[in-house]
C-alpha cells in the first residue's frame, strides 16, 4: 500500500474506527503510525472531519418538523388509533389537531371509497380528459426521444414498459411527458403534437388498476363533446389516446383494422360510440 492509497482509505474512515473489521484500514492506520508525513496528514484530516461534523450538527432543524410528521402519521393510522379520548383536555391544541386530522382522514376515506367504486375505464377517461387541457403545467419534461421519455417515466414511477402502436413509435411528434396521480395510481402521460398541429395525449395505466378494461386486441373508440378517445389494452397496460381531433385521426394512429369493440362502460353518458 502506498501513501496515496493509504490516504484514500483513511479519508473515508469514520471517527474511532480502528480497522478491526477492515484489514485495509488497519494497514493504512499502521502506515500512518510509521510514516511521519502520513501521520501528520491523518491528524489534520481527523481535526478537519471533526470540525465539519461539529459544524453541521449545529445546523438548525425546524422545531415543528417532528410534530408535523407525527400529525400526518396520525391521519394515516387513525382507524386503529389507541388514544383514549376520555383523557383529553377538550380545549387543548392537541384535541383540535386531532379533530382536524380526523376531518382530513374522513375526507380521504370518502375520496378513497369513491375511488374504489369508480375505478372503471369510463371514469378514467373522463378524469384524464379533465386533466389534459391543463395548459399551465401540461408536461413535466419536454422530450422528443421516446427512449428518454420511457426512462423518465420509469424514474418517476409511471408505467414505462410501453408497447405503442407503430405510428406512435415512429412519430417525430412526441413533445414530452408527465406522471399524473389518479386514485393512488401513477399514470404516464405522453403528449404528441401530430401533423397539422393536432394535439393528442396518451394516458397509460396498469390494467390491474381498472375494471372493465378492453380485452387484448380490442380497440374502443368514443367521443364526448369535442374530444375523441381511443382505448386498448396491451402488455398489462391500458392505453387511452385522447384529444380534440377528428375520430379518423385516432383510427389512423391505433391501427383501425383491428378495431372490434364498440361498447363503452355504462357510466359514460353522452358518448357516441364508433365501430
Amino acid at each position: 500500500m502506498n501513501l496515496n492509497e493509504a490516504k484514500l482509505i483513511l479519508s473515508v474512515a469514520l471517527p474511532g474506527d480502528d480497522g478491526a473489521a477492515d484489514p485495509q484500514l488497519a494497514e493504512a492506520l499502521a502506515l500512518a503510525r510509521r510514516d511521519a508525513e502520513l501521520g501528520a496528514w491523518w491528524e489534520r484530516e481527523c481535526r478537519w472531519d471533526a470540525e465539519v461534523r461539529r459544524s453541521l450538527a449545529t445546523v438548525a432543524v425546524p422545531s415543528a418538523l417532528p410534530s408535523q410528521i407525527l400529525a400526518g402519521q396520525k391521519v394515516v393510522r387513525l382507524p386503529k388509533a389507541d388514544a383514549k379520548l376520555s383523557n383529553f383536555e377538550w380545549s387543548t391544541p392537541l384535541f383540535w389537531g386531532l379533530a382536524a386530522a380526523l376531518v382530513v382522514f374522513l375526507s380521504l376515506a370518502a375520496s378513497w371509497l369513491h375511488a374504489k367504486s369508480d375505478n372503471n375505464l369510463a371514469s378514467f377517461a373522463r378524469d384524464m380528459m379533465a386533466m389534459a387541457p391543463d395548459d399551465s403545467r401540461h408536461v413535466d419534461v419536454r422530450q422528443a426521444d421516446l427512449a428518454k421519455v420511457k426512462g423518465w417515466l420509469a424514474e418517476h414511477h409511471g408505467p414505462a414498459d410501453l408497447a405503442l402502436p407503430v405510428m406512435m413509435q415512429r412519430s417525430p411528434d412526441l413533445m414530452g411527458c408527465r406522471v399524473l396521480q389518479w386514485h393512488g395510481q401513477a399514470i404516464s402521460m405522453l403528449c404528441y403534437m401530430m401533423p397539422g398541429a393536432q394535439h393528442v395525449d396518451l394516458f397509460v395505466i396498469r390494467a390491474a388498476g381498472l375494471k372493465d378494461v378492453p380485452a387484448p386486441g380490442q380497440r374502443v373508440f368514443a367521443s364526448i363533446k369535442q374530444n375523441a378517445m381511443a382505448a386498448w389494452q396491451s402488455g398489462g397496460n391500458v392505453y387511452l389516446l385522447a384529444g380534440a381531433v377528428p375520430m379518423e385521426f385516432l383510427h389512423l394512429y391505433v391501427e383501425p383494422s383491428q378495431t372490434t369493440q364498440t361498447s363503452w362502460p355504462a357510466p359514460f353518458a353522452g358518448v357516441i360510440f364508433y365501430r
Binding site: 484514500l8 478537519w48 472531519d49 461534523r53 459544524s55 445546523v59 417532528p66 407525527l70
Partner: protein
C-alpha cells in the same frame, strides 16, 4: 420482531434526515417536504423492514430516491464517475479553515458542490454513515463512493476557505 415505534423513529432520525435533505435540496421547505414524505413512506411500507439495523439505511435511501424523483432538471446534475483521485486533492491544505467554521458556512459550502459529491459527503458527515452503507444508499459501487468522498472533502475544504476569505 416488531418494528420500531413510529414516534421513536421520527425522534431518532428526523434531524440527520433533514440536514441530508437540506444539503440535497438546498431549501428548507423542500428539505422538510422530503423528510415528511420519507416518514410517510415508512408509515405505509416500513413495517416490511424486519431488521432494525436496516432502518436508518432504508430511511436515507428512501429520502435520496424521493429527492431524485422530485428533481426536475436532471441535466443540471451530470453523473460523473471518479475513477482516479488526484494526489494533490488528498493533501491537506496548509491553512486551517476549520478554525473559522460554523454550521451555516459549512452547509452553504456543501450545497455548492455538485450532487455527485454532495450526497455521499453529506451522509459521511451528517450521520457517521460508513462508505459501505453510503454505497448501498446511493446505489453506486464502493470504490466510486470512496473516491467521491475523498475528492468531495477536498472540494468542500476549498469552498469553506473561499467563504471564510470573503
Amino acid at each position: 420482531m416488531a418494528g420500531p415505534d413510529f414516534e421513536d423513529l421520527v425522534k431518532a432520525h428526523y434531524e440527520p434526515l433533514f440536514r441530508f435533505a437540506l444539503s440535497l435540496a438546498r431549501s428548507e421547505a423542500d428539505a422538510g417536504d422530503l423528510v415528511q414524505q420519507t416518514f410517510y413512506r415508512w408509515a405505509a411500507k416500513g413495517d416490511q423492514i424486519r431488521d432494525s439495523t436496516k432502518v436508518k439505511s432504508w430511511l436515507f435511501t428512501t429520502l435520496h430516491r424521493e429527492f431524485l424523483g422530485h428533481r426536475r432538471h436532471e441535466d443540471k446534475f451530470p453523473k460523473v464517475d471518479i475513477a482516479v483521485v488526484d494526489e494533490s486533492e488528498l493533501m491537506a491544505v496548509s491553512a486551517s479553515p476549520e478554525k473559522l467554521m460554523d454550521g451555516a458556512t459549512v452547509m452553504a459550502a456543501l450545497q455548492q458542490l455538485d450532487e455527485t459529491y454532495r450526497a455521499p459527503l453529506s451522509l459521511f458527515y451528517l450521520d457517521d454513515t460508513s462508505y459501505r452503507e453510503i454505497a448501498e444508499i446511493l446505489d453506486v459501487p464502493i470504490g466510486t463512493v470512496m473516491s467521491r468522498i475523498s475528492r468531495g472533502k477536498a472540494l468542500l475544504r476549498v469552498a469553506v476557505l473561499k467563504k471564510n476569505v470573503r
